[in-house]
């Protein structure tokens, strides 16, 4: 499999006195979909935010494409090819759809933005129809598409998605997962954080199960789906 493109090695993250991440290690290889599943508060988002540089680990290291991310200023991490679609989408509600996408291309050379916009619009035609509307007027599903499109504008080598299904109707969840599958087929490497373990594991190559800040299981998507323990704890079976 060669070298992983993302290697998280023994990170520990605290929120004040709360030890949120307790020595997590995992890898993502090129062209994979890897999922982190677990209940609310297991530390999934904390892990992603640490990788993105919004939070810092007191120990260990995170290397991306062979570079130590701890040595890179948080706002330069996007430049390295790492984009995150944050939990709760966090699109800029008072800015137009097109402006949101432009913000996604903040670090990209301005010459390519027009072409990239067209690419995102062809992926999400709804966004094109609504490109002049402010993002606050979009529905939840459209905002999720916008958040994904915004992340894609930076040409990420690794796309990290934090609970893309959160708060969406089941039909929209299916649609979002279909899009994730298509992005993967088109060559994106994806790190997917989900509470919807069933959906996540069914499209993932590999998965890690987080419980109160620790990885308690790992394996291929199908292995984890079949595991009785995981069925009982996360799949409601």
């Amino acid at each position: 499999m060669g070298e992983p493109i993302l290697k998280v090695d023994d990170i520990n993250v605290w929120y004040g006195s709360i030890h949120a991440i307790k020595g997590i290690s995992f890898e993502v290889y090129e062209d994979e979909i890897v999922t982190l599943i677990g209940a609310n508060g297991a530390g999934k988002s904390t892990t992603l935010n640490t990788i993105s540089g919004l939070l810092h680990s007191k120990t260990g290291s995170i290397s991306f494409m062979g570079k130590n991310l701890a040595k890179i200023a948080p706002h330069k991490i996007v430049d390295e090819g790492l984009a995150q679609v944050p939990e709760g989408r966090r699109v800029f509600l008072q800015m137009s759809v097109a402006e949101n996408l432009e913000m996604g291309a903040f670090t990209a050379p301005s010459s390519g933005i027009a072409a990239d916009l067209e690419k995102v619009y062809s992926l999400f035609p709804r966004l094109k129809e609504r490109r002049r509307q402010v993002a606050g007027t979009l529905s939840g599903g459209e905002q999720q598409m916008l958040a994904m499109g915004r992340a894609l504008m930076s040409h990420p080598k690794l796309l990290m998605l934090d609970e893309p299904s959160m708060g969406l109707a089941p039909i929209l969840v299916e649609q979002i997962f279909e899009i994730i599958g298509n992005l993967h087929k088109a060559g994106s490497t994806i790190l997917l954080v989900e509470q919807n373990a069933q959906m996540a594991l069914s499209i993932a190559d590999r998965g890690y199960v987080l419980e109160t800040g620790k990885i308690v299981h790992s394996g291929s998507g199908s292995e984890l789906l079949a595991s009785p323990e995981i069925k009982r704890a996360y799949l409601g079976g």
């Binding site: 993105s52 540089g53 919004l54 200023a73 948080p74 706002h75 330069k76 991490i77 996007v78 430049d79 984009a83 995150q84 944050p86 966090r90 699109v91 800029f92 509600l93 008072q94 800015m95 402006e99 432009e102 913000m103 996604g104 903040f106 670090t107 301005s110 606050g136 979009l138 529905s139 939840g140 905002q143 915004r150 930076s154 708060g167």
Partner: protein
């Protein structure tokens, strides 16, 4: 004719408030803090222009440019030294620090320039316009003030609407974390906002001192508080709100002085603020953001 005269004076005074209020509202929008030292930057701008004209015999244009440059740097330095270390601190700590910075600037000015008022020579050399057989006089300062205000408003709208940096500012003001995930340098953006706000304060200082030519270390406090009121009146965080709030406040103040009571004019201004906030707590153009889940 007197009403028209008062209206013009009101708009002119209001334009100064509006320019100051822009600084308050931009900084609040982006750093979510009330920079109570903003008014004192006005005073520093006034002294800079005064000193370069009086002691160095500079012309008005270089004097104004110097004032803008010094205040811009001052804004960046104050933010870096006093506010940036408190980025994660409770907002009350930041507020008190801002008040501290305000007193620091006033006392520094007191040490450097003393407490006796300086007489400021107007930087504006536009002749007064006499209309309707001299019944209506519009001073050159009023013309210049209103024009500056309009130019600044247009420039800021273009900046925040069209430029990459301006859009990044709006993104940071909405969601710092998400903005950082886009690769926007949040600290640099905040610095830039302080720089722009303080540069505008210098312009306001020069215009204010040209209209009311006494310069003291406390010159900036009252206009600062009034402009803050204007920013809240218009809806803090909103750039057009600051403009409208400032101009309305100026008009109310002048009309209050002319028709009700000179002593009570400030009370009237603040009473209007209270009424507006009771009816519309977010201010005239304040945005009510509804989260969509």
């Amino acid at each position: 004719m007197a009403i028209l005269m008062n209206l013009i004076n009101g708009i002119s005074l209001g334009s100064v408030y509006a320019i100051i209020a822009l600084g308050y509202t931009m900084v609040y929008g982006i750093a979510k803090m009330l920079n109570f030292a903003h008014g004192d930057v006005i005073m520093v701008g006034g002294y800079m222009a005064f000193c370069s004209m009086t002691y160095l015999n500079w012309g008005p244009v270089p004097a104004v440019l110097l004032a803008i440059a010094v205040c811009t740097v001052l804004g960046i330095v104050v933010e870096r030294l006093a506010y940036k270390p408190l980025r994660q601190a409770p907002s009350l700590a930041v507020l008190i620090t801002a008040i501290g910075v305000s007193y620091f600037l006033q006392n520094a000015a007191l040490l450097i320039w003393g407490s006796d008022p300086k007489v400021f020579t107007s930087v504006i050399h536009i002749p007064s316009q006499r209309l309707f057989d001299g019944q209506l006089i519009i001073t050159g300062t009023a013309v210049a003030t209103v024009l500056s205000c309009v130019v600044i408003m247009i420039a800021l709208s273009l900046f925040t609407g069209k430029t990459k940096m301006g859009k990044a500012m709006r993104a940071v003001s909405e969601d710092k974390g998400a903005a950082q995930l886009m690769g926007i340098n949040v600290n640099f953006t905040i610095s830039m906002t302080f720089a722009i706000g303080s540069g505008l304060a210098a312009i306001a200082g020069v215009l204010l001192c040209s209209a009311y030519p006494t310069l003291m270390p406390t010159t900036g406090s009252m206009p600062g508080i009034k402009a803050f009121t204007a920013a809240v009146f218009g809806g803090i965080g909103s750039i057009p709100g600051a403009m409208i709030g400032g101009i309305l406040l100026g008009i109310i103040e002048i009309f209050g002085k002319a028709y009700i009571s000179t002593q009570l004019s400030d009370a009237i201004v603040f009473a209007v603020l209270i009424v507006v906030l009771l009816v519309k707590p977010t201010g005239l153009l304040g945005k009510q953001i509804r989260e969509k889940v």
